[in-house]
């Protein structure tokens, strides 16, 4: 090895090699994650989008185009051969088709055609009731979680004196965040479905999901409240405002962007869970749409179909084949889209509110 020309010349020492190796390790780890993410999204988008975009159909009246996958209820798919052509039809369509074929054959004095069909459950039609159900679950649980969560965050960070009680409550909240979702499902089932006798219902699902997301809401709210400078509170109180007046008009508005963003994202996440709703709110299949109720109160006590549960059902409860996989991916694609929309909405909302209050 030649003597270096100057004291800062780089030398291939063991330490340098180690530096290099660690750098590559971190880099590769990041790329692996990126690849995995791309694979998941790519797979779902690729396979799912063909289901969704393949379901556009023209209609007679305004708006002249509809998407059967997004706007219809799930149906059984019939696959059959007729006149040497392989056809796929949903339940209703298939029946109508068969009737008309038989009728026209009879009219022509021919023997009635024989249809040998294979049926695949849930593989035709769309997922409209699942979309509706999921949206209802998200909205309701969000309302409950925000009300309870923000209230308790305000109590903990603005009112309660720091002491054993508050520390215990914080610990309990932290622990709640670590409870697996299936346990929440079981809790909701025992508490709301059985004990309160709400049956499998929206209400039971709302509360189960709300309790699950509460730790996120409370933590985010406390953080957002703490970020509001103490000077705003003191300034307000020094003007003779009461505690609640101070919080309502000079603390909460500034904390709201932070509260909403984290909470909405937390709820979007929890709404994707199958476990908490499968015993409490979700039906495998339901013919009626949620607003199809006799009394208003019935609305709260009905079960709904939901996207995550539908994915679960079509991918584990029925025989798998190419037809069911179309629904699985299509549903997953729509679900991703809805979550992305919720996230986008929360970010827009935050930016909008942030712009109004800056310090």
């Amino acid at each position: 090895m030649s003597t270096p020309a100057h004291p800062f010349a780089s030398r291939p020492t063991a330490g340098r090699k180690f530096e290099n190796a660690t750098f590559w390790f971190f880099r590769v780890a990041t790329y692996i994650i990126l690849l995995a993410g791309l694979a998941v999204f790519g797979d779902i988008i690729l396979k799912g989008s063909s289901t969704v975009f393949g379901a556009f159909k023209s209609t007679e009246h305004f708006p002249y185009v509809t998407n059967t996958f997004l706007s219809e209820a799930p149906e059984t798919l019939y696959v059959f051969e007729d006149g040497g052509v392989k056809r796929e039809m949903g339940d209703t369509e298939y029946r109508a088709y068969r009737e008309s074929r038989i009728a026209s054959a009879l009219a022509a004095g021919e023997p009635a055609p024989q249809f040998k069909s294979e049926s695949y459950v849930y593989s035709a039609g769309g997922i409209w009731p699942c979309i509706v159900g999921t949206v209802l679950l998200v909205v309701g649980s969000m309302a409950i979680a925000l009300t309870l969560g923000v209230a308790s965050a305000i109590f903990l960070s603005e009112y309660a004196k720091d002491g054993a009680f508050v520390r215990f409550v914080r610990l309990a909240i932290l622990n709640l965040a670590g409870v697996p979702s299936i346990v929440f499902g079981l809790f909701g089932f025992g508490m709301f479905v059985i004990f309160f006798d709400w049956n499998v219902s929206l209400l039971a699902g709302w509360f189960t999901l709300a309790f699950m997301v509460l730790p996120v809401v409370i933590t985010a709210s406390e953080e957002a409240l703490k970020a509001v400078p103490q000077g705003f509170r003191e300034g307000s109180l020094a003007l003779g405002a009461t505690k609640w007046q101070t919080i309502r008009s000079n603390v909460l508005p500034y904390a709201l962007p932070g509260i909403l963003t984290s909470s909405i994202l937390g709820i979007a996440r929890v709404a994707g869970e199958t476990a908490p709703i499968m015993f409490t709110a979700a039906y495998v299949v339901r013919d009626k749409l949620p607003w199809d109720v006799e009394k208003v109160s019935d609305f709260f006590f009905q079960g709904v179909m939901a996207l995550p549960y539908h994915i679960y059902v079509v991918s584990s409860k029925i025989p798998q084949n190419e037809y069911t996989s179309r629904v699985q991916y299509g549903t997953a694609f729509v679900f991703l889209g809805i979550v992305a929309l919720i996230a986008l909405a929360s970010i827009l909302l935050r930016n909008n509110l942030r712009g109004r209050y800056k310090w």
Binding site: D162, F232, A238, L239, S249, Y254, K358
Partner: protein, 290 residues
């Protein structure tokens, strides 16, 4: 230089030879005493002991603060000036574990720590301006009317009137009259502090407590606030905490010097700066410690 001294402040030595004291060389103290030397007592602090948890911050404070006068609290950092100031409008209630073990504070003869006293009502009468100016992230207009809105004042005419009056009172009207609906945070530091003063006088308190209102301001902004204090004392009783001896000398009628949680000396500002009775006061105002 000084021709009259307060009749109620006993002097340890005559003031004919102020040049003898080091302090008099450094400070320009107004030589004309206030028009009427006799002022009523507004706030009376008696045998006051105050604790943060187990740590005693104030020891046996006895102090009578004059109505429609400016009183300055001076003393080295950590001596309890802010603590005492915040006791006067019960801002210390907000801190966990604060205790008063002895004595009390009376405003117009009413014990403000009495059972039937509502600290909210008290703070409407005893306003406060903070060291770090804290305009709310609302418009200038909304900042001023904040106190009235929470009192339930709805009339637009009345609010407009108060905004103009308060901003004029805080010598800020001309600078902001065309931008009342811009954010209070768009103002300069000195303007922000005057906005906070305007916000305080909008609820028409009797007393304005100021905790180092100029510590974050440049000399010009400071001069404006000091000028303002001169104007305000016609209407309000002002108690100001300051680290600037010049400021205390320029603005105040009486000065209280604190050290380690104790009131060391309280007298006419002229006396404190030119002829203090206590050696510690003398050392502090002449800049030899603190």
């Amino acid at each position: 230089m000084v021709t009259t001294t307060s009749s109620r402040t006993p002097l340890s030595s005559p003031m004919e030879t102020p040049a003898d004291t080091p302090a008099s060389r450094t400070f320009k103290v107004s030589s004309v005493p206030s028009e009427d030397d006799r002022a009523d007592t507004l706030i009376e602090i008696k045998d006051f002991d105050f604790y943060y948890g187990t740590k005693q911050a104030l020891f046996d404070i006895n102090l009578k603060l004059d109505d429609k006068r400016v009183t300055a609290f001076i003393g080295p950092s950590g001596c309890g000036k802010s603590t005492l100031l915040r006791c006067l409008n019960r801002m210390n209630d907000l801190i966990d574990g604060t205790r008063i073990t002895r004595g009390g504070v009376k405003v117009r003869g009413v014990d403000i720590y009495g059972r039937d006293v509502d600290s909210i009502e008290l703070r409407k009468r005893v306003g406060m301006v903070f060291q770090k100016s804290n305009p709310f992230p609302k418009s200038i207009y909304e900042n001023i009317v904040y106190g009235l809105r929470i009192q339930g004042v709805k009339s637009k005419a009345r609010l407009d009137e108060v905004v103009e009056k308060s901003l004029r009172g805080a010598a800020l009207w001309d600078e902001v009259k065309d931008r009342l609906h811009e954010s209070g945070l768009s103002l300069s530091g000195g303007q922000q502090q005057r906005l906070c003063i305007a916000r305080t006088i909008a609820v028409e308190p009797e007393v304005i407590l100021m905790d180092e209102p100029c510590s974050a301001l440049d000399p010009i902004a400071t001069a404006k606030v000091e000028e303002l204090i001169h104007e305000l004392k016609k209407q309000f009783t002002i108690i100001i905490v300051t680290h600037s001896m010049q400021q205390a000398a320029r603005c105040s009628d009486k000065t209280a010097f604190f050290y380690m949680g104790k009131l060391i000396e309280y007298a006419d500002t002229r006396t404190i700066f030119m002829n203090p009775a206590n050696a510690q006061t003398e050392a502090y105002v002449s800049g030899r410690f603190g």
